[in-house]
Symmetry: C2
């Protein structure tokens, strides 16, 4: 990312670069193994073999298996931040979300990525330490999408009757679910999936002519007026 030059930074980076390169090698190997077998079934020996490295040496770069998972979480967070930055720059938040979904699906097109993503979710649900590692990622995604939606409401691009926080979580749930189902349902090609997804988001989010009255309960009206009840979880 940062220092591109060769002889610019004088000292203390010559060996640090090599160290980070090794860490990256281990991370890539671990992601492949975790995707293939899950956090529990993938053994450190598997990761060592995938990284072409002995066990003893691997432990010089990561304190434990858990530390590797934490590093994966951080890498994912950084990668996602780029997606959300593009969303914030979008004129129309709905189009921005559709474009974000497109990019996300493209990134999740490999064989490994969707499996790792689903494994992370499953493990986060039950293991508090893993959940803590990825909670920041989820909260940042939620905050970015919710901000985009509220901005869209203010501009008239988005239905003001929507329960923003729940709607955002629904979209995140949809994304995670699609990523998983695409592994099983091979007829969900990029083209077909993106087309249906675009229709879904447009219809769901856009303002409606007050015909479908089902909305506007006490719940959603309260969410539209002031700050909603629970912008981010962790409390009651």
């Amino acid at each position: 990312m940062g220092q591109g030059g060769k002889d610019d930074a004088p000292a203390s980076t010559a060996s640090t670069d090599a160290r980070e390169a090794q860490q990256q090698r281990i991370l890539a190997a671990a992601m492949a193994c975790f995707a293939r077998s899950g956090f529990h079934k993938a053994s450190m020996q598997d990761i060592c073999a995938e990284a072409g490295m002995s066990a003893g040496n691997l432990y010089r770069y990561f304190r434990s298996k858990e530390a590797i998972i934490a590093a994966i979480a951080e890498a994912e967070r950084v990668r996602n931040a780029a997606l959300f930055e593009r969303l914030q720059r979008a004129e129309d938040p709905v189009r921005g979300l559709i474009e974000l979904a497109r990019c996300y699906l493209r990134e999740m097109n490999s064989r490994d990525a969707p499996m790792l993503c689903t494994e992370i979710i499953a493990e986060a649900l039950r293991n508090p330490e893993i959940r803590t590692m990825f909670e920041r990622n989820i909260n940042e995604a939620h905050a970015a999408c919710a901000h985009a939606l509220r901005q869209g409401i203010a501009q008239g691009h988005v239905d003001p009757n929507l329960d923003v926080d729940v709607a955002v979580r629904m979209l995140m749930a949809l994304g995670d679910g699609i990523v998983a189902h695409r592994v099983i349902a091979d007829f969900m090609t990029d083209d077909r999936t993106e087309a249906v997804l675009e229709v879904m988001l447009e219809r769901f989010l856009r303002p409606h002519a007050a015909s479908t009255v089902v909305l506007a309960d006490t719940l959603s009206s309260q969410a539209a007026s002031s700050r909603p009840a629970a912008p981010l979880p962790t409390s009651a």
Copy 2:
């Protein structure tokens, strides 16, 4: 399901009933353990302890850990069949799907059920044997929903421009995703989630006044005319 009477079937069921009761006890214990720890981390000893039973005795009822998982898959399949039967009897398929989603969310309201559900999906993505066990469930769900949607299209309740197979998979993905996210996002109460979900399904599935032109590509038109390209997966 079947034999309800007490003295109807004469022989060979007196001890068979006790055997099935034990199997159910083991299954319930296993589901709790799998939900708590995942398929790999939950040990047979854990399941034995949860079921109040020794290891040797448990193996008299299930040949292996995998056999327990297969039995869980079958139990889920039977339970889901009841939901889909109600869907088929619904006059308006959209309302039927909304009602199905409501029931599904209610069933997934416990602490364990969503975790087990997500664990199943994660494991099905990578383990071919587990995938085979649950593939029938997924295909039956897909078939039931797709049939309902096509019926709804014929009756004018559902947008005929929808790519039915992809749309169905999207709804299944949404359901699975919501179930998982509700564990993390405690603000997704039953009320708020059901309200937003109803809006989403209504807007997504209902026929539209041809204003949002985004649909009607070559893909979705082909899916609307005859049998779609891939009603069920497994092939190219």
